[in-house]
């Protein structure tokens, strides 16, 4: 078979293809398309296989999803408006008592003994002297009636009061340029938030709900209440606060929930 000139493909036509040839072979083209339907059907079928099966278990997929979740942390940091207040509500809309949620049932809570309870301070803080409940409850209070939103999808209006976290951090000489504020709790729950959210005007260390000391199931004697994050980012029964540049994760975050979880 003599080849006249070197060509990228032997199937390439020598001359330009006339548009009319394509039109003449319209039926043939349609025939080829029909054959490819099988291929299409296979991809469509494969797509439906995504449901039901636990794709999340595969390590590679898992790590890609984790990286996207970390990317979403950064996006949320950029979206965060430090001085933008969450909508507030009237006292008439407050739900009493608030809705309970933890990784265990309400019957299984272990009330904190307030007499021996202390708030420990650690990390980038000048004055690490522990605080008693009495000392904390004597601090100036701030009240916010805001919406509590759970990652599960429910919400309620809550009326929380306590010391503003920014004011508390300034009082104890915390490094507010540090990246994280991390919390340890009387149960084995733990969590951490970004500094910008910690310094938000509506972030408080809550001691009261609806003007009454918070009750055992809701974090007595001290819990975090921030209007800019999902419910699980508000640790209850806090026993220690650390200001740090180290990422500390959190109970649910270490189980796959998004860390920033801003709202």
């Amino acid at each position: 078979m003599p080849i006249k000139t070197p060509s990228p493909s032997v199937f390439r036509p020598k001359g330009g293809v006339d548009q009319s040839i394509l039109h003449e072979h319209k039926a043939l083209i349609a025939e080829i398309d029909r054959r490819k339907i099988l291929r299409g059907a296979v991809s469509l079928g494969a797509l439906t296989m995504l449901t039901g099966c636990n794709v999340t278990r595969t390590d590679a997929v898992q790590s890609v999803l984790k990286r996207i979740s970390q990317f979403n942390d950064k996006v949320q940091e950029l979206m965060f408006r430090p001085n933008h207040l969450a909508p507030t509500f009237s006292e008439a809309e407050v739900v009493k008592p608030p809705r309970f949620n933890a990784y265990y049932d309400i019957e299984d809570i272990a009330p904190v003994d307030v007499a021996s309870w202390k708030l420990e301070l650690a990390g980038r803080i000048d004055n690490k002297k522990p605080w008693t409940a009495q000392e904390i409850y004597a601090l100036p209070e701030q009240e916010w009636i805001t919406r509590h939103i759970c990652v599960e999808g429910w919400d309620y209006i809550g009326q929380w009061s306590g010391v503003n976290l920014r004011q508390f951090l300034e009082r104890i000489g915390a490094d507010t340029k540090a990246r994280y504020v991390s919390f340890k709790c009387a149960d084995d729950y733990y969590g951490s938030i970004d500094m910008a959210s910690a310094l938000h005007p509506q972030t408080i260390l809550a001691t009261k709900y609806a003007r009454e000391p918070i009750t055992d199931p809701f974090g007595f004697p001290l819990r975090l209440r921030t209007a800019t994050k999902l419910g699980f980012k508000n640790p209850k029964w806090i026993t220690a606060i650390e200001v740090t540049n180290e990422y500390r994760g959190g109970y649910w975050e270490d189980r796959g929930f998004n860390w920033f979880s801003g709202i």
Binding site: K4, T5, S7, R12, P13, K14, G15, G16, V17, D18, Q19, L22, H23, I29, A30, I32, D33, R34, K36, I37, R39, G40, A41, S43, L47, T48, L50, T51, G52, N54, V55, T56, R57, V64, L65, K66, I68, S69, N72, M79, R81, H84, A86, P87, R147, I149, C150, V151, E152, G153, W154, D155, A227, T228, R255, G256, F257, N258, G262, I263
Partner: protein, 217 residues
């Protein structure tokens, strides 16, 4: 070499569905399957309707934390791909050519023909009035779906947007209804595509050659 004349227009005739459009269509299909499947799993964690739970076998994520990861990954694919599609449709004039105008009397005539089984499928290069209405409609629903999704995700940072949907549960309800409308569209879309299989082939290979914009309608 001299006897080879290259005329790209002739060798690569314009197809009914250009390559870029086909890629965007299937990426959107992938994003939709992931978003709907994971959305059902997220919904199951706190149902809106007591009678409605989605069986585990038809959801994606294996639990709320996995489902949320899938949902907030696929949202990027949907949004970026969707923005490319809108820019493409507007810039190339494809939306105007394919979807407009939509006349109510053409819609009712098409519905009448369909009910009498008189609807022609020979020419897949032109959409009938009902198709136009459904395609424009589902694009609008997906845009609202992205907005209500953002309102559910960021009711405080995007409080101005969230206010449009009323309360937080209002945003959730709109997001659920949007899903239901998209699923309804998909049932019709896939059923009709399978009834006229050459449309599926066309969305894979590009379909018949089309001459120019004028003839393409």
């Amino acid at each position: 070499m001299t006897d080879i004349t290259i005329n790209s227009t002739d060798r690569h005739p314009a197809r009914l569905h250009p390559l870029a459009l086909r890629i965007m269509h299937w990426l959107n299909a992938l994003a939709m399957v992931i978003l709907i499947g994971s959305g059902w799993e997220i919904y199951n964690d706190e149902v809106i309707f007591g009678w409605l739970h989605f069986p585990r076998w038809m959801t994606i994520g294996g639990g709320p934390e996995g489902a949320l990861q899938w949902h907030f990954a696929a949202m990027w694919l949907l949004m970026i791909n969707g923005l490319c599609y809108l820019a493409y449709g507007i810039a190339t004039g494809r939306f105007r050519r394919k979807f407009l105008p939509i006349w109510p009397r053409e819609v009712s005539a098409t519905v009448r023909d369909a009910l009498r089984f008189k609807l022609g499928h020979d020419d897949i290069t032109h959409y009938n009035a009902v198709q136009k209405l459904l395609y424009v409609g589902v694009i609008a629903v997906i845009i609202v779906q992205v907005l209500s999704g953002l309102a559910v995700w960021k009711p405080v940072q995007l409080s101005e947007l969230a206010a449009l949907f009323g309360s937080f549960q209002g945003s959730r309800l709109v997001h659920f209804i949007g899903m239901a409308l998209i699923v309804g569209f998909l049932v019709v879309h896939i059923a009709l595509a399978l009834l006229v299989p050459k449309t599926v082939g066309a969305m894979i290979t590009g379909g018949p050659a089309v001459d120019d914009d004028a003839k393409n309608g």
